[in-house]
Protein backbone atom coordinates (compact mmCIF):
# COMPACT_ATOMS: atom_id res chain seq x y z
CA UNK A 1 0.00 0.00 0.00
CA UNK A 2 1.31 3.44 -0.94
CA UNK A 3 0.76 6.68 0.92
CA UNK A 4 0.30 9.93 -0.97
CA UNK A 5 1.17 13.16 0.84
CA UNK A 6 -0.19 16.31 -0.77
CA UNK A 7 2.12 19.24 -0.13
CA UNK A 8 1.69 22.86 -1.13
CA UNK A 9 4.39 25.27 -2.13
CA UNK A 10 3.82 28.58 -0.38
CA UNK A 11 5.80 31.81 0.04
CA UNK A 12 8.04 31.69 3.10
CA UNK A 13 5.75 33.58 5.45
CA UNK A 14 8.56 34.75 7.71
CA UNK A 15 9.98 36.72 4.81
CA UNK A 16 6.88 38.55 3.65
CA UNK A 17 7.18 42.26 4.34
CA UNK A 18 4.33 44.74 4.40
CA UNK A 19 4.72 48.03 2.58
CA UNK A 20 1.89 50.59 2.56
CA UNK A 21 -0.29 47.81 4.01
CA UNK A 22 0.40 45.67 0.93
CA UNK A 23 2.22 42.35 1.15
CA UNK A 24 5.48 42.36 -0.81
CA UNK A 25 5.98 38.91 -2.33
CA UNK A 26 8.77 39.75 -4.80
CA UNK A 27 11.91 37.86 -4.00
CA UNK A 28 10.27 35.87 -1.20
CA UNK A 29 11.56 32.29 -1.45
CA UNK A 30 9.17 29.34 -1.68
CA UNK A 31 8.78 26.70 0.98
CA UNK A 32 6.56 23.75 1.73
CA UNK A 33 3.65 24.36 4.11
CA UNK A 34 4.61 23.78 7.73
CA UNK A 35 1.75 21.41 8.59
CA UNK A 36 2.33 19.59 5.29
CA UNK A 37 5.63 18.50 6.82
CA UNK A 38 3.73 16.91 9.70
CA UNK A 39 1.65 15.02 7.13
CA UNK A 40 4.84 13.82 5.47
CA UNK A 41 6.34 12.73 8.77
CA UNK A 42 3.14 10.81 9.64
CA UNK A 43 3.39 9.04 6.27
CA UNK A 44 7.05 8.15 6.71
CA UNK A 45 6.41 6.77 10.20
CA UNK A 46 3.57 4.58 8.89
CA UNK A 47 5.72 3.38 6.00
CA UNK A 48 8.55 2.44 8.32
CA UNK A 49 6.12 0.18 10.16
CA UNK A 50 4.39 -1.52 7.28
CA UNK A 51 6.24 -0.89 4.03
CA UNK A 52 4.97 0.58 0.80
CA UNK A 53 6.04 3.88 -0.67
CA UNK A 54 5.52 7.47 0.34
CA UNK A 55 4.76 9.61 -2.69
CA UNK A 56 4.78 13.37 -2.33
CA UNK A 57 2.24 15.04 -4.59
CA UNK A 58 2.34 18.71 -5.43
CA UNK A 59 0.81 20.98 -8.04
CA UNK A 60 2.13 24.44 -8.76
CA UNK A 61 4.55 26.44 -10.85
CA UNK A 62 7.92 25.13 -12.04
CA UNK A 63 9.70 26.07 -8.84
CA UNK A 64 7.91 23.19 -7.14
CA UNK A 65 10.43 20.78 -8.66
CA UNK A 66 13.12 22.40 -6.52
CA UNK A 67 10.98 23.04 -3.44
CA UNK A 68 9.86 19.43 -3.25
CA UNK A 69 13.42 18.18 -2.74
CA UNK A 70 12.99 19.05 0.90
CA UNK A 71 10.25 16.42 1.15
CA UNK A 72 12.30 13.84 -0.72
CA UNK A 73 15.14 14.45 1.73
CA UNK A 74 12.79 14.11 4.69
CA UNK A 75 11.67 10.61 3.73
CA UNK A 76 9.39 10.65 0.69
CA UNK A 77 10.38 7.95 -1.82
CA UNK A 78 9.05 9.56 -4.96
CA UNK A 79 7.55 12.80 -6.18
CA UNK A 80 4.53 13.19 -8.42
CA UNK A 81 4.31 16.73 -9.70
CA UNK A 82 1.90 18.65 -11.88
CA UNK A 83 3.72 21.78 -12.97
CA UNK A 84 2.13 24.64 -14.80
CA UNK A 85 2.37 28.39 -14.35
CA UNK A 86 -1.43 28.50 -14.45
CA UNK A 87 -1.46 26.61 -11.18
CA UNK A 88 0.31 29.35 -9.30
CA UNK A 89 -2.20 30.83 -6.89
CA UNK A 90 -4.96 28.57 -8.25
CA UNK A 91 -7.89 28.26 -5.86
CA UNK A 92 -9.10 25.21 -3.97
CA UNK A 93 -11.48 23.85 -6.58
CA UNK A 94 -8.83 23.86 -9.32
CA UNK A 95 -6.13 22.42 -7.10
CA UNK A 96 -8.45 19.66 -5.88
CA UNK A 97 -9.31 18.53 -9.41
CA UNK A 98 -5.65 18.44 -10.37
CA UNK A 99 -4.64 16.51 -7.25
CA UNK A 100 -7.54 14.05 -7.51
CA UNK A 101 -6.72 13.31 -11.15
CA UNK A 102 -3.06 12.83 -10.29
CA UNK A 103 -3.96 10.43 -7.46
CA UNK A 104 -5.96 8.40 -9.98
CA UNK A 105 -2.70 7.85 -11.85
CA UNK A 106 -0.85 6.53 -8.80
CA UNK A 107 -1.07 2.81 -8.06
CA UNK A 108 -2.27 1.14 -4.90
CA UNK A 109 -3.03 4.26 -2.87
CA UNK A 110 -4.33 3.41 0.61
CA UNK A 111 -3.95 6.70 2.36
CA UNK A 112 -3.87 10.30 1.20
CA UNK A 113 -2.52 12.77 3.72
CA UNK A 114 -2.86 16.54 3.93
CA UNK A 115 -1.94 19.11 6.55
CA UNK A 116 -4.97 20.53 8.36
CA UNK A 117 -4.51 23.75 6.41
CA UNK A 118 -1.95 25.31 4.13
CA UNK A 119 0.47 27.74 5.72
CA UNK A 120 -0.63 30.70 3.65
CA UNK A 121 -4.36 30.40 3.16
CA UNK A 122 -5.27 27.91 5.89
CA UNK A 123 -8.63 27.30 4.29
CA UNK A 124 -8.47 23.53 4.79
CA UNK A 125 -10.77 22.74 1.89
CA UNK A 126 -8.60 20.93 -0.63
CA UNK A 127 -8.41 17.64 1.27
CA UNK A 128 -12.19 17.55 1.66
CA UNK A 129 -12.67 18.36 -2.01
CA UNK A 130 -10.28 15.61 -3.07
CA UNK A 131 -12.13 13.10 -0.87
CA UNK A 132 -15.43 14.05 -2.52
CA UNK A 133 -13.94 13.88 -6.02
CA UNK A 134 -12.49 10.43 -5.34
CA UNK A 135 -15.60 9.27 -3.47
CA UNK A 136 -13.53 8.34 -0.44
CA UNK A 137 -14.23 8.66 3.28
CA UNK A 138 -12.27 11.33 5.08
CA UNK A 139 -11.11 12.32 8.54
CA UNK A 140 -9.69 15.75 9.28
CA UNK A 141 -7.74 17.06 12.27
CA UNK A 142 -6.10 13.70 13.00
CA UNK A 143 -3.95 13.46 16.09
CA UNK A 144 -3.14 9.78 15.48
CA UNK A 145 -3.39 7.29 12.61
CA UNK A 146 -3.11 3.51 12.87
CA UNK A 147 -3.36 1.30 9.83
CA UNK A 148 -4.74 -2.23 10.04
CA UNK A 149 -5.11 -4.46 6.98
CA UNK A 150 -7.91 -2.75 5.14
CA UNK A 151 -8.90 -0.06 7.56
CA UNK A 152 -7.50 2.79 9.59
CA UNK A 153 -8.25 3.90 13.13
CA UNK A 154 -8.03 7.65 13.29
CA UNK A 155 -8.31 9.86 16.33
CA UNK A 156 -9.41 13.32 15.45
CA UNK A 157 -9.27 16.20 17.83
CA UNK A 158 -12.36 18.41 17.82
CA UNK A 159 -13.16 21.44 19.95
CA UNK A 160 -15.19 19.43 22.44
CA UNK A 161 -13.35 16.13 22.45
CA UNK A 162 -11.53 13.37 20.62
CA UNK A 163 -13.50 11.37 18.08
CA UNK A 164 -12.14 7.96 17.19
CA UNK A 165 -13.12 6.67 13.77
CA UNK A 166 -12.66 3.36 12.04
CA UNK A 167 -12.50 3.97 8.32
CA UNK A 168 -12.11 1.61 5.40
CA UNK A 169 -9.19 2.29 3.06
CA UNK A 170 -8.47 4.20 0.93
CA UNK A 171 -9.12 7.30 3.01
CA UNK A 172 -8.21 10.99 2.91
CA UNK A 173 -6.83 12.26 6.21
CA UNK A 174 -5.67 15.69 7.28
CA UNK A 175 -3.32 15.88 10.24
CA UNK A 176 -2.86 18.41 13.00
CA UNK A 177 0.34 20.38 13.35
CA UNK A 178 1.14 18.67 16.64
CA UNK A 179 0.68 15.05 15.50
CA UNK A 180 4.47 14.64 15.41
CA UNK A 181 7.78 16.43 15.18
CA UNK A 182 9.01 16.34 11.56
CA UNK A 183 12.53 14.96 11.20
CA UNK A 184 15.37 17.13 10.00
CA UNK A 185 17.08 15.47 7.05
CA UNK A 186 20.81 14.72 7.21
CA UNK A 187 23.25 16.10 4.66
CA UNK A 188 23.42 12.70 2.94
CA UNK A 189 19.65 12.56 2.67
CA UNK A 190 19.59 16.04 1.18
CA UNK A 191 22.23 15.06 -1.38
CA UNK A 192 20.34 11.88 -2.31
CA UNK A 193 17.00 13.70 -2.61
CA UNK A 194 17.77 15.00 -6.10
CA UNK A 195 18.23 11.44 -7.38
CA UNK A 196 14.90 10.07 -6.17
CA UNK A 197 12.32 9.25 -8.85
CA UNK A 198 10.12 12.07 -10.02
CA UNK A 199 7.13 11.98 -12.33
CA UNK A 200 6.43 15.39 -13.80
CA UNK A 201 3.23 16.13 -15.69
CA UNK A 202 1.77 19.27 -17.18
CA UNK A 203 -1.84 20.32 -16.91
CA UNK A 204 -2.56 19.15 -20.44
CA UNK A 205 -1.47 15.63 -19.52
CA UNK A 206 -4.47 15.37 -17.20
CA UNK A 207 -7.93 14.61 -18.56
CA UNK A 208 -9.69 17.35 -16.67
CA UNK A 209 -11.74 20.33 -17.67
CA UNK A 210 -10.96 23.34 -15.53
CA UNK A 211 -13.33 25.73 -17.25
CA UNK A 212 -16.56 26.90 -15.69
CA UNK A 213 -15.42 26.37 -12.12
CA UNK A 214 -16.70 28.78 -9.49
CA UNK A 215 -14.21 31.57 -8.96
CA UNK A 216 -12.94 33.31 -5.87
CA UNK A 217 -12.58 37.03 -6.57
CA UNK A 218 -10.38 39.16 -4.36
CA UNK A 219 -11.56 42.72 -3.72
CA UNK A 220 -8.63 43.66 -1.51
CA UNK A 221 -5.85 42.03 0.48
CA UNK A 222 -4.25 44.45 2.90
CA UNK A 223 -2.51 44.32 6.23
CA UNK A 224 -4.84 45.55 8.95
CA UNK A 225 -4.39 49.16 9.99
CA UNK A 226 -2.66 49.42 13.30
CA UNK A 227 -3.36 52.53 15.26
CA UNK A 228 -1.80 51.36 18.50
CA UNK A 229 -0.44 54.01 20.80
CA UNK A 230 3.00 52.40 21.17
CA UNK A 231 3.70 54.31 24.37
CA UNK A 232 6.85 53.21 26.19
CA UNK A 233 6.37 53.16 29.93
CA UNK A 234 9.32 53.16 32.28
CA UNK A 235 7.92 51.30 35.26
CA UNK A 236 5.25 48.90 36.39
CA UNK A 237 3.68 51.74 38.37
CA UNK A 238 3.40 53.80 35.20
CA UNK A 239 1.86 50.86 33.35
CA UNK A 240 -0.77 50.37 36.04
CA UNK A 241 -1.53 54.08 35.91
CA UNK A 242 -2.02 53.93 32.14
CA UNK A 243 -4.24 50.85 32.34
CA UNK A 244 -6.35 52.49 35.05
CA UNK A 245 -6.73 55.59 32.90
CA UNK A 246 -7.87 53.34 30.05
CA UNK A 247 -10.42 51.85 32.42
CA UNK A 248 -9.36 48.27 31.76
CA UNK A 249 -8.25 47.39 35.29
Amino acid sequence: MNIVVAMKQIPDLQQIRIRNRKPVLDGVPSALGVIDKNALEAAVLLKEKQGGKVIVLSAGNEEVEETVKEALAAGADEAFLVLDDDLEGADGSTKAMVLAEAINKIEDVGLILFGEGSGDNYSGQVGSRVAELLGMPQAAYASSIEINDSSAVITRSLEDGDEILEVSLPVVVSVLGDINEPRIPSVTQILKAGRKPKEVLELEDLEINLTGLPEIMTVSNLAPETDRKQVKVASVEELLQALRTEGVI
Binding site: P11, L13, Q14, I16, P23, G92, S93, E116, G117, D120, N121, Y122, S123, G124, Q125, V126, G127, S128, R129, A131, E132, L133, G135, P137, Q138, Y141, L158, E159, G161, D162, E163, I164, L165, V167, V171, D178, L213, P214, E215, I216, T218, V219, S220, N221, L222, A223, P224, T226, R228, K229, Q230, V233, V236, L239, L240, A242, L243, E246, V248, I249
Partner: protein, 304 residues
Protein backbone atom coordinates in the same frame (compact mmCIF):
# COMPACT_ATOMS: atom_id res chain seq x y z
CA UNK B 1 -30.02 32.65 -5.72
CA UNK B 2 -33.16 31.88 -3.86
CA UNK B 3 -32.46 31.66 -0.21
CA UNK B 4 -29.65 30.67 2.08
CA UNK B 5 -29.15 27.35 3.82
CA UNK B 6 -27.45 27.22 7.19
CA UNK B 7 -26.01 24.19 8.93
CA UNK B 8 -23.85 23.52 11.96
CA UNK B 9 -23.82 20.46 14.18
CA UNK B 10 -23.24 22.91 17.03
CA UNK B 11 -26.51 24.51 18.10
CA UNK B 12 -25.03 27.79 19.32
CA UNK B 13 -23.10 28.26 16.10
CA UNK B 14 -26.12 27.32 13.96
CA UNK B 15 -28.08 30.15 15.62
CA UNK B 16 -25.27 32.60 14.80
CA UNK B 17 -25.41 31.50 11.16
CA UNK B 18 -29.10 32.38 11.00
CA UNK B 19 -28.25 35.99 11.95
CA UNK B 20 -25.57 36.11 9.25
CA UNK B 21 -27.85 34.48 6.65
CA UNK B 22 -30.54 37.11 7.22
CA UNK B 23 -28.03 39.76 6.18
CA UNK B 24 -27.97 38.04 2.80
CA UNK B 25 -31.61 37.07 2.28
CA UNK B 26 -34.85 36.88 4.21
CA UNK B 27 -35.47 33.32 3.07
CA UNK B 28 -33.37 31.11 5.33
CA UNK B 29 -33.62 27.37 5.67
CA UNK B 30 -31.75 25.20 8.13
CA UNK B 31 -30.90 21.53 8.38
CA UNK B 32 -30.55 19.18 11.32
CA UNK B 33 -28.96 15.79 10.90
CA UNK B 34 -30.15 13.16 13.40
CA UNK B 35 -30.59 15.83 16.03
CA UNK B 36 -34.10 16.58 17.31
CA UNK B 37 -33.11 19.25 19.79
CA UNK B 38 -31.14 21.12 17.12
CA UNK B 39 -34.16 21.01 14.80
CA UNK B 40 -36.36 22.44 17.56
CA UNK B 41 -33.88 25.20 18.38
CA UNK B 42 -33.62 26.17 14.70
CA UNK B 43 -37.38 26.28 14.26
CA UNK B 44 -37.69 28.30 17.48
CA UNK B 45 -35.31 30.83 15.92
CA UNK B 46 -37.79 31.35 13.10
CA UNK B 47 -36.41 29.33 10.20
CA UNK B 48 -37.84 26.60 8.07
CA UNK B 49 -35.98 23.55 9.26
CA UNK B 50 -35.43 20.29 7.44
CA UNK B 51 -34.96 17.48 9.90
CA UNK B 52 -33.16 14.53 8.41
CA UNK B 53 -33.18 11.35 10.46
CA UNK B 54 -31.37 8.36 9.07
CA UNK B 55 -29.53 5.63 10.98
CA UNK B 56 -26.91 5.42 8.21
CA UNK B 57 -25.96 9.01 8.82
CA UNK B 58 -23.05 8.86 11.23
CA UNK B 59 -21.91 12.01 12.99
CA UNK B 60 -18.34 12.45 11.91
CA UNK B 61 -18.94 11.11 8.40
CA UNK B 62 -18.36 14.28 6.45
CA UNK B 63 -19.19 12.73 3.08
CA UNK B 64 -22.58 11.56 4.33
CA UNK B 65 -23.35 14.94 5.89
CA UNK B 66 -22.50 16.67 2.61
CA UNK B 67 -24.70 14.24 0.66
CA UNK B 68 -27.64 14.83 3.00
CA UNK B 69 -27.37 18.62 2.84
CA UNK B 70 -27.00 18.50 -0.93
CA UNK B 71 -30.40 16.81 -1.14
CA UNK B 72 -32.00 19.76 0.66
CA UNK B 73 -30.19 22.24 -1.60
CA UNK B 74 -31.36 20.40 -4.71
CA UNK B 75 -34.93 20.17 -3.47
CA UNK B 76 -35.12 23.85 -2.53
CA UNK B 77 -32.97 25.07 -5.42
CA UNK B 78 -30.60 26.92 -3.11
CA UNK B 79 -26.95 27.56 -3.99
CA UNK B 80 -25.76 29.65 -1.04
CA UNK B 81 -24.67 27.85 2.12
CA UNK B 82 -23.40 29.13 5.45
CA UNK B 83 -21.56 26.70 7.70
CA UNK B 84 -19.71 27.18 10.98
CA UNK B 85 -15.93 27.37 10.75
CA UNK B 86 -15.35 25.11 13.72
CA UNK B 87 -13.46 21.93 12.86
CA UNK B 88 -16.47 19.86 11.82
CA UNK B 89 -17.87 22.75 9.81
CA UNK B 90 -14.60 23.56 8.10
CA UNK B 91 -14.11 19.94 7.13
CA UNK B 92 -17.63 19.81 5.73
CA UNK B 93 -17.22 23.08 3.80
CA UNK B 94 -14.79 21.74 1.22
CA UNK B 95 -16.68 18.48 0.81
CA UNK B 96 -20.07 20.12 0.34
CA UNK B 97 -18.61 22.76 -1.98
CA UNK B 98 -17.16 20.04 -4.19
CA UNK B 99 -20.43 18.07 -4.11
CA UNK B 100 -22.47 21.03 -5.37
CA UNK B 101 -19.81 22.61 -7.59
CA UNK B 102 -19.39 25.64 -5.38
CA UNK B 103 -16.57 27.96 -4.48
CA UNK B 104 -15.63 27.89 -0.83
CA UNK B 105 -14.30 30.35 1.72
CA UNK B 106 -13.62 29.28 5.30
CA UNK B 107 -12.67 31.14 8.49
CA UNK B 108 -14.79 34.07 7.40
CA UNK B 109 -15.00 36.73 10.11
CA UNK B 110 -17.57 39.04 8.53
CA UNK B 111 -19.81 39.21 5.49
CA UNK B 112 -20.98 42.27 3.66
CA UNK B 113 -23.57 42.17 0.91
CA UNK B 114 -22.81 44.41 -2.07
CA UNK B 115 -25.47 43.94 -4.71
CA UNK B 116 -25.23 40.32 -5.79
CA UNK B 117 -21.81 39.89 -4.18
CA UNK B 118 -21.36 38.48 -0.72
CA UNK B 119 -18.03 39.92 0.34
CA UNK B 120 -16.25 37.82 2.93
CA UNK B 121 -13.50 39.02 5.18
CA UNK B 122 -10.85 36.49 6.16
CA UNK B 123 -7.21 36.28 7.13
CA UNK B 124 -4.70 35.57 4.38
CA UNK B 125 -0.96 34.99 4.09
CA UNK B 126 -0.77 33.38 7.49
CA UNK B 127 -2.66 36.28 9.05
CA UNK B 128 -0.39 39.03 7.70
CA UNK B 129 -3.24 40.43 5.68
CA UNK B 130 -7.01 40.55 5.72
CA UNK B 131 -8.53 39.62 2.38
CA UNK B 132 -11.96 40.66 1.17
CA UNK B 133 -13.18 38.05 -1.28
CA UNK B 134 -16.38 36.90 -2.90
CA UNK B 135 -17.41 33.79 -4.79
CA UNK B 136 -18.81 33.84 -8.30
CA UNK B 137 -21.22 30.96 -8.73
CA UNK B 138 -22.61 28.62 -6.08
CA UNK B 139 -21.06 29.34 -2.71
CA UNK B 140 -20.20 27.70 0.58
CA UNK B 141 -18.96 30.03 3.29
CA UNK B 142 -17.86 28.93 6.73
CA UNK B 143 -18.09 31.60 9.43
CA UNK B 144 -15.83 31.74 12.43
CA UNK B 145 -17.59 31.12 15.72
CA UNK B 146 -18.85 34.24 17.51
CA UNK B 147 -18.67 36.45 14.44
CA UNK B 148 -22.41 37.09 14.76
CA UNK B 149 -24.93 37.15 17.60
CA UNK B 150 -27.25 34.18 17.94
CA UNK B 151 -30.66 34.68 16.33
CA UNK B 152 -33.51 35.46 18.70
CA UNK B 153 -36.89 33.77 18.95
CA UNK B 154 -39.09 33.50 15.90
CA UNK B 155 -41.75 31.39 14.36
CA UNK B 156 -40.26 28.63 12.25
CA UNK B 157 -41.29 25.16 11.20
CA UNK B 158 -39.92 21.63 11.03
CA UNK B 159 -40.27 19.36 8.02
CA UNK B 160 -39.05 15.81 8.11
CA UNK B 161 -37.07 14.82 5.07
CA UNK B 162 -36.05 11.33 4.07
CA UNK B 163 -32.52 11.51 2.71
CA UNK B 164 -30.71 8.73 0.96
CA UNK B 165 -27.41 8.00 2.63
CA UNK B 166 -24.93 5.46 1.33
CA UNK B 167 -22.70 3.57 3.70
CA UNK B 168 -19.38 5.33 3.28
CA UNK B 169 -17.24 3.07 5.41
CA UNK B 170 -16.92 5.24 8.50
CA UNK B 171 -17.68 4.05 12.02
CA UNK B 172 -17.38 6.13 15.16
CA UNK B 173 -15.77 3.84 17.72
CA UNK B 174 -15.57 6.26 20.59
CA UNK B 175 -15.88 9.89 21.58
CA UNK B 176 -13.87 11.17 24.51
CA UNK B 177 -15.11 14.56 25.67
CA UNK B 178 -12.41 16.96 26.74
CA UNK B 179 -11.82 17.33 30.45
CA UNK B 180 -14.36 19.42 32.32
CA UNK B 181 -12.03 22.20 33.48
CA UNK B 182 -12.38 23.95 30.16
CA UNK B 183 -11.44 27.54 29.83
CA UNK B 184 -12.83 29.89 27.25
CA UNK B 185 -10.22 32.54 26.57
CA UNK B 186 -12.39 34.04 23.85
CA UNK B 187 -14.93 35.08 26.47
CA UNK B 188 -12.39 36.65 28.84
CA UNK B 189 -12.33 40.44 29.22
CA UNK B 190 -8.73 40.33 30.37
CA UNK B 191 -6.05 37.98 29.07
CA UNK B 192 -2.59 37.50 30.49
CA UNK B 193 -0.69 35.75 27.72
CA UNK B 194 2.76 34.22 28.02
CA UNK B 195 5.21 33.36 25.27
CA UNK B 196 8.54 31.65 25.00
CA UNK B 197 10.12 34.36 27.15
CA UNK B 198 8.76 32.59 30.22
CA UNK B 199 11.74 30.81 31.78
CA UNK B 200 10.17 27.72 33.26
CA UNK B 201 6.92 25.95 33.94
CA UNK B 202 6.90 26.71 37.69
CA UNK B 203 6.58 30.41 36.91
CA UNK B 204 3.11 29.74 35.51
CA UNK B 205 1.74 29.82 39.05
CA UNK B 206 2.71 33.51 39.28
CA UNK B 207 1.14 34.17 35.89
CA UNK B 208 -2.06 32.46 37.04
CA UNK B 209 -2.01 34.50 40.24
CA UNK B 210 -1.70 37.68 38.20
CA UNK B 211 -4.54 36.67 35.89
CA UNK B 212 -6.74 35.91 38.90
CA UNK B 213 -5.99 39.27 40.49
CA UNK B 214 -6.97 41.01 37.26
CA UNK B 215 -10.08 38.86 36.93
CA UNK B 216 -8.80 37.39 33.67
CA UNK B 217 -7.56 34.17 32.13
CA UNK B 218 -4.11 32.86 31.26
CA UNK B 219 -3.45 32.41 27.56
CA UNK B 220 -0.30 31.67 25.56
CA UNK B 221 1.42 31.60 22.20
CA UNK B 222 1.37 28.30 20.32
CA UNK B 223 4.86 27.00 21.22
CA UNK B 224 4.06 27.23 24.94
CA UNK B 225 1.28 24.69 24.42
CA UNK B 226 2.44 22.53 21.53
CA UNK B 227 6.22 22.45 22.02
CA UNK B 228 6.63 22.96 25.74
CA UNK B 229 3.21 21.56 26.68
CA UNK B 230 3.03 23.86 29.69
CA UNK B 231 -0.53 24.92 28.94
CA UNK B 232 -3.40 23.25 27.13
CA UNK B 233 -4.15 24.04 23.51
CA UNK B 234 -7.45 25.67 24.39
CA UNK B 235 -5.38 28.59 25.72
CA UNK B 236 -3.51 29.24 22.46
CA UNK B 237 -4.01 32.63 20.80
CA UNK B 238 -3.35 32.91 17.09
CA UNK B 239 -4.04 31.73 13.58
CA UNK B 240 -4.41 28.07 14.55
CA UNK B 241 -5.70 28.94 18.03
CA UNK B 242 -8.27 31.39 19.29
CA UNK B 243 -9.07 34.87 18.02
CA UNK B 244 -9.72 37.00 21.08
CA UNK B 245 -11.15 40.46 21.61
CA UNK B 246 -10.49 41.21 25.29
CA UNK B 247 -10.61 44.67 26.82
CA UNK B 248 -7.02 44.17 27.93
CA UNK B 249 -4.31 41.84 26.66
CA UNK B 250 -1.19 41.76 28.78
CA UNK B 251 1.46 40.02 26.67
CA UNK B 252 4.47 38.66 28.52
CA UNK B 253 7.57 37.59 26.65
CA UNK B 254 5.84 37.29 23.29
CA UNK B 255 7.85 38.38 20.26
CA UNK B 256 4.85 39.07 18.07
CA UNK B 257 4.95 36.85 14.99
CA UNK B 258 1.97 37.45 12.80
CA UNK B 259 0.63 33.94 13.41
CA UNK B 260 0.18 35.05 17.02
CA UNK B 261 -0.88 38.67 16.61
CA UNK B 262 -3.72 37.77 14.26
CA UNK B 263 -5.43 36.28 17.31
CA UNK B 264 -5.13 39.33 19.55
CA UNK B 265 -5.13 42.35 17.26
CA UNK B 266 -8.77 43.10 18.02
CA UNK B 267 -8.06 43.61 21.72
CA UNK B 268 -9.05 47.08 22.95
CA UNK B 269 -5.82 47.70 24.85
CA UNK B 270 -2.58 45.76 24.42
CA UNK B 271 0.30 45.99 26.87
CA UNK B 272 3.54 44.19 26.04
CA UNK B 273 6.42 43.22 28.27
CA UNK B 274 9.53 42.26 26.37
CA UNK B 275 13.29 42.56 26.77
CA UNK B 276 13.82 43.25 23.07
CA UNK B 277 13.16 46.88 22.20
CA UNK B 278 12.74 45.94 18.54
CA UNK B 279 10.30 43.09 19.12
CA UNK B 280 7.53 43.06 16.53
CA UNK B 281 4.96 43.04 19.31
CA UNK B 282 5.93 46.58 20.29
CA UNK B 283 4.48 47.92 17.04
CA UNK B 284 1.08 46.62 17.89
CA UNK B 285 1.01 47.41 21.57
CA UNK B 286 -0.48 50.45 23.26
CA UNK B 287 1.87 50.26 26.23
CA UNK B 288 5.32 48.76 26.20
CA UNK B 289 7.65 47.96 29.04
CA UNK B 290 11.13 46.90 28.09
CA UNK B 291 11.88 44.67 31.05
CA UNK B 292 12.26 41.10 32.24
CA UNK B 293 8.80 39.65 32.36
CA UNK B 294 9.48 37.72 35.57
CA UNK B 295 10.26 40.95 37.43
CA UNK B 296 7.18 42.60 36.01
CA UNK B 297 4.95 39.70 37.04
CA UNK B 298 6.35 39.82 40.55
CA UNK B 299 5.86 43.53 40.88
CA UNK B 300 2.35 43.43 39.44
CA UNK B 301 1.42 40.67 41.87
CA UNK B 302 2.69 42.80 44.75
CA UNK B 303 0.95 45.97 43.67
CA UNK B 304 -2.41 44.63 42.63
Amino acid sequence: MAGVLVYSANQGLALELITAARKIEDFVVAVSLNDDSLAQALAAAGVRTFKISNPNLVVGDTGAAAAAIKQVLDKENIDTVLLSSDRRGKELAGRLAQAIGAGCLTDVTAIQVDGSKIECQRNALGGATIAVQYIEGPKVMALRPRSYEAAGAGNGSIEELAAEIKDTGIKVIDFKPKAADRVNIEAAEILVAVGQGLSDEEKLADVQALASKLGGEVACSKPVATDKKWLSEERVIGLSGKKCKPQLALLLGISGQVQFTVGIRDARVIAAVNTDENAAINYMADYIIQADLHDVIEELNEKL
